[in-house]
Symmetry: C2
């Protein structure tokens, strides 16, 4: 296919990077049910608007290992709507497609003569949508069989891993794309320690490839072996797209020991009401020219506003532990301010949306109640906010600060 | 698109008709697990070999309302493999595609510019794969979203049904294709009785259309309203493709009151060991030229051989009710003969298959044991046949003839 001038510099890969879309998250919730779909659609629209060469996803495309029929139907429909079309993909595919893709057809979808793919999607699997059961298939295998996603990074033998990169060329730029779908952290950690993760290099001209790895693992240590230390990753790599961690840290961080950069786009929907998820959600346009790259973050506008705050009751002057009404009024005022803050910011991002279509924000207020204060029912507290927040039942989270706290998160993003 | 000379007479529709493929039936059975997939693949191969214009299915494509991931993956893969391709479909589509197809794209797949469809599939749903749950979707909606099946005959309001036909033209022949996906029999019966099933006629030249209906209901009376009497169907129809009934009665039967014909292809996999399912399985090539049609049945070769017989123990001369061993030996001999019979017939159909690949047959012997005979454990009896039949555990079915028998089947084909 001919490179198309409209997709940007003829020697520059232009890639939309995103991860952890968790499509189907809370899909039955009357308020938040469409959030994951809306943001995934926004991402597809951004890819079109920016005329990227392809979309690269870092896993957890689906929230459930077995997405509901409605979820699968919506996803197939969105991908068909946005990814098929006449626009030629200006990227030459150089590696053996049968080795890169596990499906029966063994082709990248944009070179399949039976499909018109205008915007290819490449994805690895995460821990939420990993292969399982009869035939060791995952939801991405269905999208792959339907010709709508190029699913790569599937490992056959997790104790002895060989990764052959997808080799792509655009003009004079060459991109070697390594994919490693999620493996249980302890197990992959061990495989790394045993030096059993091998990444193949292109046989010719190895130094002139931009080497990028897509991975979906814990980046933050949860216990000694329950994550993948950055130092484990080969230092010939230039850039890591790190999935699984939901906090948006999309601006590339340099690892000076390994001399590579890491970009962590974070999830496109908050799947828990914690600090990390309250960081504004972005995807990014990644441009690669020769051995150089640039990342341009783009804030997602469809994401439901989420504000988080914390209050230590005994530090509030004049607040009397015995006076429930007073504490309640105080917290109601605080939540009201948070709603205002969330909506002000949202309106700035979305100046054209009519008030009837403003979303209800997610609000989480952590309440430290030591010093004689008592907890009360958060659901009852939330009744006053039923029409103003998306999560009236769990706005408040009571806790007591302990002298020594060892936080050992068991949540799986 | 230009009509292709290779697909046959330029004025003749050439359609493969089949139904009740029940893909996924017993998919976990170590012996029979692939049967439904094999026969569905054979049907796709026959469609290719006969260069039909399209495939028309009568419902129950899937056995389970929620097919397993493996089942869905295999089906997507088979359809992509056989139905996509460069061969142009020589059939003009004249009706409003948005009205015929419920999906977002509202097009017949072979006219979607993003897909190369060489062999379109049209299907209604059956009772096994009917719409349900959130969004009222069915497994065919997924295939439709993936561009691989043209799903029609979905009813929004089952108490007031309007069917607008798919209008097709090939040369001078015109085909109006009416689809009515399965509705619970009692309910549809009532809707018919209330004259609330309306079939729209083409506004122009109504008498020159060949009118065909695809329906998936009980044809045999199971109780007064638990089926659809043929007389309920409009007499302007020329041909009915009747799904749901698993017995192959594909040769068209004329209803002289209504003056239409009915073809009942029957299932492509036996889902119960009863008489109807032991009739040799066929699909057919339907040719329609002007107001004439022809049906050419084709026997399926992949279908596991199935023989059924019946023995009345007290009618067997010399058989002594008290002599268990004698009865056992007698039945073993009888089953051995049945296996022989099944395999002889199968080999005649498949002369080129090496012995290592011969299938184990399904064998069902009904044993009438009145007159002092006793039943015994069919599973133990079957142990002698473990390596020779596909259903060792239920070869024998004991029963006693009653003077008055009212059979009221509750099974759902
Ligand atoms: Mn994850
Ligand atoms: Mn995640
Ligand atoms: Mn049925
Ligand atoms: Mn059936």
């Amino acid at each position: 296919r001919e490179p198309a001038a409209t997709t940007g510099d003829a020697d520059t890969f232009k890639i939309l990077i995103a991860t952890d879309n968790h499509i189907g998250y809370m899909e039955k919730d009357p308020i938040r049910g469409n959030d994951s779909f809306n943001s995934f659609e926004e991402i597809l629209q951004l890819a079109q608007a920016h005329s990227v060469d392809f979309i690269l996803l870092g896993g957890d495309l689906f929230h459930d290992n077995k997405p509901s029929r409605k979820c699968m139907h919506s996803t197939l429909t969105l991908l068909r709507q946005y990814c098929l079309g006449d626009r030629p993909c200006p990227v030459e595919f150089l590696s053996d497609q049968k080795e890169n893709f596990a499906n029966k057809f063994g082709t990248v979808n944009y070179e399949d003569p039976n499909y018109n793919v205008g915007m290819p999607v490449f994805s690895i699997h995460g821990n939420h949508d990993d292969p399982s059961g009869d035939g060791s298939l995952c939801a991405l295998d269905l999208l792959s069989a339907a010709g709508l996603v190029n699913y790569f990074g599937k490992q056959v033998e997790v104790d002895d891993i060989s990764i052959k990169p997808i080799l792509l060329q655009k003009g004079s730029s060459k991109l070697a794309l390594y994919g490693l779908g999620n493996v249980r952290d302890e197990r992959l950690n061990r495989t790394f320690q045993k030096k059993k993760v091998k990444m193949f290099r292109p046989s010719e001209d190895a130094d002139n490839w931009f080497n990028m790895l897509v991975i979906h693992q814990n980046r933050i240590a949860h216990g000694p072996t329950n994550y993948i230390p950055e130092a484990y990753l080969d230092d010939f790599l230039n850039l890591i797209l790190w999935g699984h961690e939901h906090e948006c840290l999309v601006d590339p961080v340099h690892n000076s020991v390994q001399d590579f950069h890491i970009t962590q786009p974070g999830s496109s929907v908050a799947t828990s009401l914690c600090e990390g998820e309250s960081v504004p959600k972005h995807i990014a346009i990644l441009k690669i020219t020769g051995m150089d790259f640039q990342i341009q973050p783009i804030r997602l506008r469809t994401v439901r506003p989420f504000v988080m705050d914390e209050v230590i009751l005994q530090a509030i002057e004049g607040l009397r532990p015995g006076d429930q009404n007073m504490v309640n009024d105080f917290l109601q005022d605080r939540v009201t301010e948070m709603i205002q803050l969330a909506m002000d910011e949202w309106k700035e991002l979305n100046p054209d949306v009519a008030e009837a279509n403003w979303p209800k924000p997610l609000v989480r207020l952590k309440v430290e109640y030591s010093g004689g204060f008592t907890t009360f029912n958060p659901q009852r507290f939330g009744q006053a906010f039923v029409n103003r927040v998306a999560n009236p039942k769990d706005i408040l989270q009571f806790y007591r600060r302990r002298t020594q706290t060892v936080s050992k998160s068991k949540s799986k993003p």
